[in-house]
């Protein structure tokens, strides 16, 4: 039986199709203002990549901010549970997950069975979310992917004084004008991000293995800064970390179908 998961996030919409433990297809699109449309779009793409049609899917579980509005979904599960499920599915030794998405960030701790012991989410301010990085990348004229890579070349990372995304932006502009190398700026940005998230992560209690999920986990600069901050290695997962929520949803669907 074929199961699917669809994660309608604030910034991106993701879908994963599973047959037992085998990944048949996946897709990722930018979220539009209409979650229904984003969901069908991403699902079509995922189905195409798996050479399937909607009729082949026995059950699809939805998650993410827009989860209640996906037409083809029978059941919904929160993102927190999905990220936990997905990460545990890929790597059962994971005990702590740091998920940074576009609009929030979460720290989740699991037990050996993959069940959630504790979680914390940030919801005060946009600093410490993926959006912060996007704003900064745009400012530096870099692709999101580059922001992480280039920070490896930094020699003197800057320190950002402001926590507000918008003010931090002004600060970065100032440094840019001073002719500061982009690598140093990028490194400073990634470090600022990691420092903010590390507080959250530590308050949930770090236990190894630790992994990062969500789009920001694709930024190696943040991942390394995080390792430095927390003093533990981040376990790399075998699948695009941004898909973790959708994968978890698909695993839920599969469990629902009674496949163990």
């Amino acid at each position: 039986m074929i199961a699917a998961g669809c994660d309608v996030g604030s910034l991106t919409t993701k879908a994963v199709i599973l047959n037992n433990a085998r990944l048949l297809g996946h897709a990722l699109v930018r979220s539009s203002f209409n979650p229904e449309k984003s969901a069908s779009e991403v699902m079509e793409k995922a189905l195409a990549s798996a050479r399937l049609t909607m009729d082949d899917i026995s059950l699809c579980v939805g998650t993410g901010y827009g989860r209640e509005r996906i037409g083809f979904v029978k059941k919904t599960v929160s993102e927190i549970s999905c990220h936990a499920k997905g990460a545990h599915f890929l790597q059962p030794s994971i005990r702590t997950i740091i998920d940074i998405g576009g609009q929030d960030c979460k720290a989740i701790r699991l037990d050996a069975k993959g069940e959630i012991v504790k979680f914390i989410t940030n919801d005060k301010c946009a600093s410490g979310t993926g959006r912060f990085l996007e704003v900064m990348a745009k400012l530096l004229g870099l692709e999101l992917g580059e922001l992480g890579r280039i920070s490896g070349q930094a020699t003197h990372p800057i320190t950002l004084a402001s926590t507000c995304t918008v003010w931090a932006q002004a600060e970065v502009i100032m440094h840019l004008n001073e002719g500061m190398p982009k690598a140093d700026l990028a490194a400073g940005i990634n470090e600022a991000m990691a420092a903010r998230v590390a507080i959250l992560a530590r308050s949930v209690g770090i236990e190894q293995d630790v992994c990062m999920t969500g789009g920001v986990a694709k930024n190696p600069g943040v991942v390394e800064a995080m390792e430095k901050q927390l003093g533990v290695p981040m376990r790399r997962l075998r699948l695009d970390p941004q898909l973790m929520g959708a994968l978890g949803a698909a695993v839920f669907a599969r469990e629902r179908l009674g496949v163990s």
């Binding site: 929160s78 549970s81 701790r109 959630i116 012991v117 504790k118 989410t121 005060k124 770090i206 236990e207």
Partner: protein, 398 residues
């Protein structure tokens, strides 16, 4: 009947207040559960717990309070400044918490810019922060002053007799609320948390006599009512003041039922009865200082913890929501210790920070509640278990 109470809970100047005013009755607002309603009642006045519901703007609240103050007193100030509280003939503010006590000055100042928005009777009373002999004595003296100022301003007399009568009336209300709790604590709960919240709020927003009358009816009706709790997880709400039924609604929409709480506006006021035998002011002073579970009484955390543990057991609670209004120091910090201790006892907890005021962030709140519900469903913790994973893993964490 519950519908009427909901109406009373959702509107500032509700039908009961209007009726009371129409008959020439006077109303006195008060800021905190540490002010004995009995005294206001004994003076022939209607005690009305100050609230901040239905604000759509903070333009007045923010121009006096600072950016780091809690939104509850700010909302009250906003309403006051807008003239929504002109139905009050008096207001009593205390040093409940820091932001709340600053309401005293802010309201007074705001009334200079927004004329006619300060009740004529406007007083500040100082509630001690500990419950020892000399503080009970001190507070008794404050209460005596309160009686004096009320008598002078409203030209009434508060006799020992009338005080005793009020105490016994309010005790009756407390007893009934305890009965309601018993119904909520049973396996089959006949009332949703949202409705129960309406009842609890109404208790401080209408004449107590009327409230008692209605509550008796409600309880009788609930005795025969079907269960609304089937298959639902039983939650308890702790932390900052909350009089927002929509908030409870969001929680219950996730498939839970709120069966108990320890919050202000909720069931903070009736766990014990006032002694009816001894001198009334002394009895009130001692009751209010000794039976509160508010963290403003500093140094009594252990007492509160054992109260909470007891409540959790009695109400068969599956999980606890530890919420606090942003910048609420008292609950914000106490929730941290509660989380540690409750989790160690095997009770799943979730911390949530929110704003007081119209509930618009439902998306984020319900996402968390969903996740929490998913967590307790799989975890299936029962209170009997002593050490949970949480407790065990704490030792190993960094």
């Amino acid at each position: 009947m519950i519908g009427t109470m909901r109406e009373a809970a959702q509107n500032l100047q509700n039908a009961f207040v209007r009726e009371w005013k129409k008959d020439g009755g006077k109303t006195v607002g008060y800021s905190c559960t540490f002010i004995p309603e009995e005294i206001i009642h004994a003076a022939g006045l209607l005690p009305f717990r100050l609230r901040g519901i239905g604000t759509t703007s903070m333009s007045i609240g923010d121009s006096y309070f600072g950016a780091v103050n809690c939104s509850l007193p700010k909302c009250i100030l906003q309403l006051a400044g807008q003239g929504s509280y002109t139905f009050l003939d008096g207001a009593i503010i205390t040093n409940g918490c820091d932001s709340m006590r600053r309401l005293e000055e802010c309201w007074r100042k705001a009334s200079e810019d927004h004329r006619g928005t300060l009740p004529e009777y406007y007083e500040y009373f100082s509630v001690p922060h500990k419950s020892v002999d000399y503080s009970v004595e001190f507070y008794e003296e404050e209460l005596r002053n309160m009686v004096g100022t009320l008598e002078r301003h409203f030209r009434c007399t508060v006799s020992e007799q009338s005080l005793k009568k009020s105490i016994s009336l309010y005790n009756k209300g407390r007893t009934l609320l305890q009965k309601l709790d018993e119904l909520r604590f049973g396996r089959d709960v006949p009332i949703s948390g949202e409705d129960a919240m309406a009842v609890l709020i109404a208790a401080h927003a209408m004449p107590q006599e009327r409230f008692i009358e209605m509550l008796e009816g409600v309880i009788e009706g609930l005795g025969k009512a079907p269960s609304v709790s089937g298959g639902k997880k039983r939650l308890m709400l702790m932390g900052s003041a909350s009089d927002d039924m929509d908030f409870i609604h969001v929680i219950e929409e996730a498939g839970a039922i709120v069966v108990a709480d320890t919050v202000c506006y909720g069931s903070r006021t009736y766990s014990a009865l006032v002694d009816e035998e001894s001198d009334p002011l002394h009895a009130l002073s001692s009751h209010y200082l000794k039976h509160s579970i508010c963290p403003r009484m500093l140094g009594y955390y252990r007492t509160r913890l054992s109260y909470v543990m007891d409540l959790i057991r009695k109400a068969r609670v599956d999980g606890v929501i530890l919420q606090n209004v942003r910048f609420c120091d008292l609950h914000g910090s106490e929730n941290g210790i509660f989380e540690r201790d409750l989790e160690a006892a095997g009770i799943p907890c979730m911390r949530l920070e929110r704003e007081y005021g119209p509930l618009t962030e439902t998306g984020r709140i319900s996402m968390r509640i969903d996740a929490f519900m998913e967590r307790i469903s799989t975890h299936c913790s029962s209170i009997g278990e002593t050490t949970s994973d949480a407790a065990r893993t704490r030792q190993q964490t960094i």
